[in-house]
């Protein structure tokens, strides 16, 4: 009897200790990105004070916001132990179709056009989700395939044409440059999407279930979580966000051809992983992914300001991704060790 009681008590104590440790590590992780951001921004600002002027900060946020948007969708997918490599192609397809919609039907209301872009993204995401959830095929391969297919459709529809700002309604282009209390609307939209996703992941049952799926798919199934349905939802949401990003891309850049967003998927995955979302699922936050996107975008801007050849940008983001996953791994090993020690002490 006593032995039974003994084994019941320690796990609870252990769990709180473990939770405290996990939160601490999580905080250290996000703090690390903030420190990295400071390390990039402060020297650049000293060399060139114009870097921290409102206008260049606005440009910085605008440039980072597209990747940050895509990173939100990607976070949902990666948390469930999947990956969506097709986001760059979905963005491209949605951007071109939205722009063409505006060009062909000049009377289209801005909201309707953006809705159209979102619908395109949603359809792409639905296809990905169905293939992954029902076809039982690894998402890496499926989205690698649809990366080609969506981009191919994009090129086939565009046939070498591009839509210029002259063919787009002023209301849409204004959206790309308009500001509310000094903050660009596009950035505000991004912030709203991030906030909604963060609340969903944190406080909603189905949001928490995504973490359960990513931590252990079999256990999630046994616990009665509708794994296929949730997985499908994450891909639909990722596509939806990529569609929105495509429509905003049109508003921001004004000129769109079929190549919009090519190769963006790697930046997005890099941002998510740098932001502390584990590629094997089960952990990570939208806030972290956003910080990751912001860090990568800031580095790009800093290189420009410091007049370092842009050639360095790719090498740096690669090195950053590698160091981020290495640090994560080392932290995780430390955490595991620490947990073992707490376990030991609670038994003693």
């Amino acid at each position: 009897m006593t032995t039974q009681l003994d084994t019941v008590a320690p796990p609870a104590a252990r769990r709180t200790a473990a939770r405290r440790l996990t939160t601490r590590v999580g905080r250290v992780r996000e703090l690390g990105i903030v420190v990295a951001l400071a390390l990039v921004v402060i020297p650049t600002a000293i060399v060139n004070p114009r870097f921290v002027q409102p206008q260049s900060l606005r440009d910085l946020l605008l440039n980072a916001s597209i990747v940050a948007l895509l990173a939100v969708g990607q976070t949902l997918v990666v948390i469930t132990r999947n990956v969506d490599l097709s986001v760059g192609s979905v963005l491209g397809l949605s951007a071109f179709l939205t722009a063409q919609q505006f060009a062909d039907h000049p009377g289209t209301p801005v909201i309707a056009g953006i809705g159209f872009g979102i619908a395109v993204g949603l359809a792409c995401g639905l296809l990905n989700g169905l293939l992954v959830a029902l076809g039982n095929v690894p998402s890496l391969v499926v989205t690698l395939g649809t990366l080609y297919v969506f981009r191919g459709i994009d090129y086939a529809l565009a046939q070498g044409r591009q839509v210029n700002a002259a063919n787009l309604p002023d209301a849409l282009l204004d959206l790309g440059s308009a500001r509310i209390v000094g903050i660009p609307i596009l950035v505000l939209v991004t912030v709203v999407v991030i906030a909604v996703a963060a609340v969903y992941l944190r406080s909603y049952r189905s949001g928490r279930e995504l973490y359960a799926i990513g931590s252990n798919p079999e256990a999630a199934t046994l616990a009665g979580i509708p794994v296929a349905k949730r997985t499908l939802t994450t891909f639909v949401l990722s596509g939806l966000v990529a569609g929105l990003a495509g429509a905003l891309w049109v508003a921001r850049y004004g000129t769109v051809d079929a190549a919009a967003g090519t190769g963006l998927e790697l930046q997005v995955v890099a941002a998510v992983v740098v932001g502390g979302v584990a590629i094997f699922g089960g952990s990570g936050t939208v806030a972290g992914a956003t910080l990751g996107a912001l860090l990568l975008g800031t580095i790009t801007s800093c290189l420009v300001v410091l007049q370092i050849p842009a050639f360095w940008q790719q090498a740096i983001s690669g090195a950053l991704l590698l160091s981020a996953i290495t640090v994560d791994r080392l932290l995780a090993l430390r955490l595991a060790k620490a947990l073992r020690t707490t376990e030991g002490t609670s038994h003693a």
Partner: protein, 319 residues
């Protein structure tokens, strides 16, 4: 195993269908020596890189950085050539650098236990970035014709391009390594059940490291081939090629989860992909259709086993 054989039969069947349709629809020029030479040139690098990548994927890992290693090796050739090195020293150096790139991947995966997908997405950016740092956006093209003709002329008296000869020799070596050696059995064992492999005394980490090093070295060789074929060393050579190679390997029936697949299937996959592309180009099909076809083939190749499996279980449930 039976499932696998069936998939390879299907691939060979598809190859014959493509060859016959090609032959009929182009009035016999598809299988002509001249066209086969170009087809061979076109798939040279993919065939080369697909060989070690097959082993990597069979072992349950992935290497997405291969095309960047190709680009880095091409950029290095140009840079060292500009610096006055002779090609006899440049080429071995470049292959060693490729092997080192692979070793970095392998060490991060095996020693730190990081997922190869994340590692090689990182090194994909890193190696391509280094290529850009080394050569910028310039191109180096003044290589002696005694070297570049390896990329543009066939073996004397035949229609076989040199890169295909190279790929064939390597294919035999890799085929023996994978299918007729204890090393190959270990690779399958690791892919099927890594823990089981470790407990049965297989040196999992060392073997994986070797596979990544091989992938890096062969990708560098593919970079040499690419550079001489276009007589142009550029940092952006082969951008995005990793997707085509992964598509070819998976189309060849290798399971992305590891433990299953054969080199023969992969070679058939490379040929099928290359043949289809070549046929579509002969028919003046636009490149965008090629992109769609590549993607669809990849989707079909992974969906087909999944669907047959499902049909199989349904049938079993009935009996």
């Amino acid at each position: 195993m039976r499932n696998l054989l069936r998939w390879e039969t299907a691939l060979v069947f598809l190859l014959i269908v493509v060859a016959l349709t090609g032959q009929v629809s182009t009035d016999g020029s598809f299988l002509s020596g001249g066209n086969l030479f170009y087809l061979g040139l076109d798939i040279g690098e993919i065939a080369l890189i697909a060989l070690p990548l097959t082993l990597v994927i069979v072992a349950g890992e992935i290497d997405l950085s291969v095309a960047s290693v190709l680009g880095l090796s091409s950029a290095l050739i140009g840079w060292l050539w500009n610096a006055g090195w002779s090609l006899e020293t440049i080429l071995p150096t470049v292959i060693v650098v490729g092997a080192l790139c692979g070793a970095v991947n392998g060490l991060l995966v095996t020693r730190l236990g990081l997922p190869s997908l994340a590692v090689t997405i990182g090194t994909l950016a890193l190696y391509r970035g280094l290529a850009l740092v080394v050569l910028g956006d310039t191109a180096v093209a003044d290589f002696p014709s005694s070297y570049t003709e390896f990329g543009t002329t066939p073996l004397p008296g035949t229609n076989i391009p040199y890169p295909i000869l190279l790929a064939a020799v390597l294919a035999v070596l890799f085929g023996i390594a994978l299918h007729a050696s204890s090393f190959g059995r270990s690779v399958y064992a690791i892919g099927a059940n890594e823990e089981g492999a470790r407990f049965s005394g297989i040196r999992v980490k060392r073997i994986k490291l070797i596979l990544f090093v091989l992938a890096g070295a062969v990708a560098a060789i593919a970079g040499i081939v690419y550079t001489f074929r276009f007589s142009s060393a550029r940092a952006d050579n082969g951008v995005g090629l990793e997707l085509a190679v992964v598509a070819a390997v998976l189309l060849g029936g290798v399971s992305i989860f590891g433990g299953k697949g054969s080199l023969f299937g992969v070679l058939a996959g490379v040929l099928l992909l290359g043949g289809l592309r070549n046929l579509l180009i002969l028919q003046d099909t636009s490149t965008e259709v090629l992109t769609i076809v590549t993607g669809l083939l990849l989707l079909v190749s992974v969906l087909a086993p999944s669907i047959t499996r499902r049909v199989g279980t349904l049938r079993k449930a009935h009996t």
